[in-house]
Amino acid sequence: MAKASVCDRLTIPEDNSFKDEIKKLSGQSVMECYQCGECTAGCPVAYAADMMPNQVTRLVQLGQENEALNSSMIWLCVGCETCTTRCPRKVELAKVMDALRETAVKRGIKPKEPAIRTFHETFLNSVERGGRVHEISMIGEFKLRSLNLFSDIFLAVKMFLKGKLALMPRFIKGRGEIKRIFRIRRKA
């Protein structure tokens, strides 16, 4: 008897709604991808992920929303743009990864790499507060939220002593404009 392939287990949706949603947000058509694997070969973080970048693309091609949005790859992607640069089909995969993350957040999907999402949120909170990032308060908030209080504490002290971390935040004058810009995020 022939072995059941992964495809036998997949239900391929009849509409293209997920693909279209990702296309609208990323400006990229994943259907261009012919699965050569160039993106995966050059990806610096794929080794740490639960699936490879070309597999994420394949899942989007097949409308497998849950699998794609629940993958750790979309959070580990650091936006180095190597895949985008090398893709022979000119799919800007880094933009697809951005769109998948944004969509996962919108859907309230718990990320496989929660600390990475918490970091990004904490970073943006800091920008929203003062217009610029204030490292000490941002790192403090990140560590509280990710319950990872003591890692790098000696490094932080050394950085402080080298004058690399400012104690007080420097708020910009145009905080009202920044607040308005951030309404984009709230509406999302």
Binding site: L76, V78, G79, V127, G131, G174, R185, K187
Partner: protein
Amino acid sequence: MKYAYFPGCSLHSTAKEFDMSARAVCRELGIELEEIPDWNCCGATSAHSLNRDLSIALPLRNLAKAEEMGLDVIAPCAACFNRMKSADGIAKDHPEMLTEIAEKSGINYRGTINVISLLEAITLLGEEAIKSHVKRELSELKVACYYGCLLLRPPDITRFDDPENPKSLDNLVTALGAEAVNWPYKTECCGASLSLSKVEVVEKLTHDILSMAKRAGANCVAAACPLCQGNLDLRQAQIETAYGERFGLPVFYFTQLMGLAFGLPESELGLKRHMVSADRVLAASGSR
């Protein structure tokens, strides 16, 4: 030549020495920098990771301010440069998106200026102009020129140098009298923003980069990005412990090397602000 200067958050904190040395070197080269008033964070990786429109609107506010100044923008930080150049690209190539974001954010940018990295601005001056300022050749320095990701990729946005085998920084350090070692990790990723949220990945990637630089015979690294410099310098000691390898590679900003070669006072270059001391390499090289 006069530019609107966008230092960005890192250059006011962890990478202050990049700001100091960039300003000092530009002054020497006759590149006039006027800081964009009341600039805001570009949003960095975090904004484009979570919200596309936010990641465009944040840099647009700075671009609109530079447009009022009537000047092209220089951003030394590779990440800031990349975000601003991306937003500028959207403004110029996707006017419908620009209009939509302008309505949501209240930011009006018309796309009449350009964004350029500091390395490109310096490269544009030509090698002879650089050489004419060199007072002390850095002849004993064997430099691994490390470009990282965002200065060069994606090439349709950055429009600068070769994204796979760039040469601009190698040519620059050669003009300073140093040796640019031939190595294959010029554009490998250091893990950048995962530095706090996925430390083990950053440790592995930076280990691979430092290890390759060492094998190629480098005695120091020249970086063009505060995230790269931070990961390679701040975490070097813990990587040495974790992997049982000794690197001892000082990680300079390329502007610091320029300042040294131009004979600028070290107080203007912030050489003491790094974790891996440059003293041994510089003493051996006679650069000071």
